[in-house]
């Protein structure tokens, strides 16, 4: 996207471009939309948990949608900007403050050199994202900047960020002379985030193998997200579910959003860092449109599922793409 308005400098009068992690937070990693094309080697895609949040704030800043961001959990990082930066936050609401002044999510924010971003309170959601305008200078591994913690590669040295780590924004941005910071992502575009969402699913290959009672249980009960949940998968606690007859399956590819039945009758939903293959029954798949709702849940949140057909799932995904197109157009317009 071309620049009509915001002025970018790569050197900014000799000032060093940097963003320093003063406190690392519990799990802060560099992620983009993931590393595709290497699943056949057992290399999982990884990437951000909440793709909608990240695509939206990248579009808002005029970045490529796949630009790498910081994914933070609560407690989140404390960050010092070493140079003038324009950034945006999206996803969870962690009570962000810039030098003590509250900053909103879903809109561009100007941070002057030496200002400090901190997060004080977990208001809603479980993962917040920080994107900077122009992106970060990062080496890519297999075409992606996503951190693969298990393989200790990708992102920032293949690990979560620690105190003293310094990231380098590609460009420095002066504060625009005209106030354009009223630009905001409309709440109507955003998922209906909640700590107890209803998430739409489509049937998986083994859904029909469930006993009739278990099919109802999958659709009608509320599940609790167990504290054994992380970026790899969410364990769901509920009344046990069972197959009508035992079934031996060979391992095959699985995906972000695949809901598997474990031998103890509980469910696991595979999340961004899922393994490439699995051999448990595939009961259902969370539709792409609703993955962000799930991605913002944490331990002790609840979720219910609503079964839709595959055609409807596709329509919902396409509808969201059309909304994002409008956001793209809107962001370009506002920049002129």
């Amino acid at each position: 996207m071309s620049e009509f308005f915001w002025i970018g400098n790569t050197t900014s009068e000799g000032k060093e471009l940097s963003l320093t992690i003063e406190k690392p937070g519990i799990l802060t990693t560099i992620q983009d939309l993931g590393r595709t094309r290497y699943r056949r080697f057992g290399i999982n895609p990884g990437g951000v948990m909440d793709r909608t949040a990240v695509r939206s704030i990248n579009i808002l800043l005029g970045n490529d949608e796949n630009e790498a961001v910081l994914e933070m959990h609560f407690p989140a990082a404390q960050i010092q900007f070493g140079s003038d930066v324009i950034f945006a936050l999206g996803g969870a609401e962690f009570g962000a403050e810039l030098d003590g002044v509250p900053v909103e999510t879903w809109r561009p924010v100007f941070a002057a050199a030496n200002s400090r971003l901190s997060f004080g309170r977990k208001n809603s959601g479980s993962r917040t994202y920080l994107a900077v305008k122009g992106g970060f200078k990062l080496e890519h591994w297999l075409e992606s900047a996503s951190t693969n913690l298990a393989a200790v590669t990708g992102g920032f040295e293949g690990r979560k960020l620690m105190t003293g780590d310094r990231l380098e924004p590609r460009q420095s941005y002066e504060k625009p002379p005209r106030n354009i910071f009223h630009v905001r992502i409309s709440p109507s575009l955003l998922p209906l985030y909640s700590s107890f969402p209803t998430v739409r699913i489509i049937a998986g290959a083994e859904f029909e193998r469930l006993s009739a009672a278990s099919q109802v249980l999958l659709k009608d009960q509320d599940f609790l997200i167990s504290n054994a949940s992380d970026r790899m998968g969410f364990r769901l606690l509920g009344e046990p579910i069972s197959l009508a007859k035992p079934l031996e399956l060979l391992s095959s590819a699985v995906d972000f959003g695949t809901i598997q039945l474990l031998p103890d009758g509980q469910l696991i939903v595979l999340m961004a860092d899922h393994q490439t293959t699995g051999g448990y029954p595939r009961l259902a798949h969370v539709i792409s449109r609703d993955l962000p709702l799930l991605a913002q849940l944490g331990a002790n949140d609840k979720v219910a599922f609503h079964l839709v057909d595959a055609t409807h799932a596709e329509e919902l995904a396409l509808e969201f793409e059309r909304d994002l197109d409008l956001l793209r157009v809107g962001c370009q317009y506002n920049r002129r």
Binding site: T36, R37, Y38, R39, R40, F41, G42, I43, N44, W141, L142, N148, A150, A151, T153, G154, I202, G204, A205, E248, L249, L250, S251, S252, A253, V254, D255, G257, T258, Q275, T276, T277, R282, H285, V286, I287, S288, A310, T311, A313, E314, A317, L318, E321
Partner: protein
């Protein structure tokens, strides 16, 4: 190739799986690999990647690109299914006449906390007999999965086939060779895992910065030799 027993089903709204059967067999696996390769060489608009497994191939696609390129189909799933059906029809499965044969040196854990002793005891064999039976076979790499570069190989001789451990280890060292039923595999990275561990190799199964990051690929044949 045309086969009535092929099953095609959605894996979510952005992928579908072609299932050739539900058995560990070189023949089904050759079909899975051949289809994955064939798709990569003849990509349809919107293809993301194809992933062969034991007896299936999963095709990941960009829903939006598929819908834009195949407007005449009601859904992306139907469009990709048609592309895949066409590719299957003209797929000539080479009988894998010349698979790559890879020799992997192993230090067997004769005296350690690992599982050779357990396997020997379970089957009424000596540790040396277990090792000899294990080494006597040539294994096929059916698929990579679980970890970057982790190879699922088969089939382990019935006489030493052993189910996974009841409680997985919290940390299996990198390079460990394990048995799970009639499968064997090499832990490319240190990881939690439940396979019965019999030895270790120094060969790097996963090298992130190499042009080809994994040492083995699906379709390879492997022999284990003692160091």
């Amino acid at each position: 190739m045309n086969d009535e027993s092929i099953r095609i089903f959605p894996l979510g709204d952005s992928a579908l799986t072609v299932e050739f059967g539900n058995a560990i067999s070189p023949e089904l696996n050759r079909k899975a690999i051949a289809l994955a390769d064939h798709i990569e060489k003849n990509p349809f608009p919107g293809l993301v990647e194809s992933v062969p497994a034991y007896a299936s191939t999963t095709i990941f696609f960009d829903l939006l690109k598929v819908r834009r390129s195949f407007a005449e189909y009601p859904t992306a799933f139907e469009a990709v299914k048609k592309c895949v059906r066409d590719l299957i029809a003209d797929l000539a499965v080479s009988p894998n006449i010349d698979p790559r044969l890879v020799e992997i040196p192993v230090a067997f854990d004769r005296k350690s906390d690992f599982d050779l002793g357990y396997i020997a005891e379970e089957h009424g064999l000596t540790i040396d007999e277990v090792i000899e039976i294990f080494k006597s076979k040539t294994y096929r790499v059916y698929m990579l999965g679980f970890l970057p570069g982790f190879s699922y190989m088969g089939e382990v001789d019935e006489r030493i086939a052993t189910p996974r451990k009841q409680t997985p280890r919290t940390l299996v060292p990198k390079g460990s060779i394990g048995i799970a039923g009639r499968q064997t595999g090499i832990y490319s990275l240190a990881s939690p895992g439940g396979w019965q561990i019999i030895g270790r190799t120094e060969v790097e199964m996963f090298t992130p910065d190499a042009a080809r990051p994994t040492y083995l690929q699906a379709g390879d044949e492997v022999r284990f030799v003692s160091v």
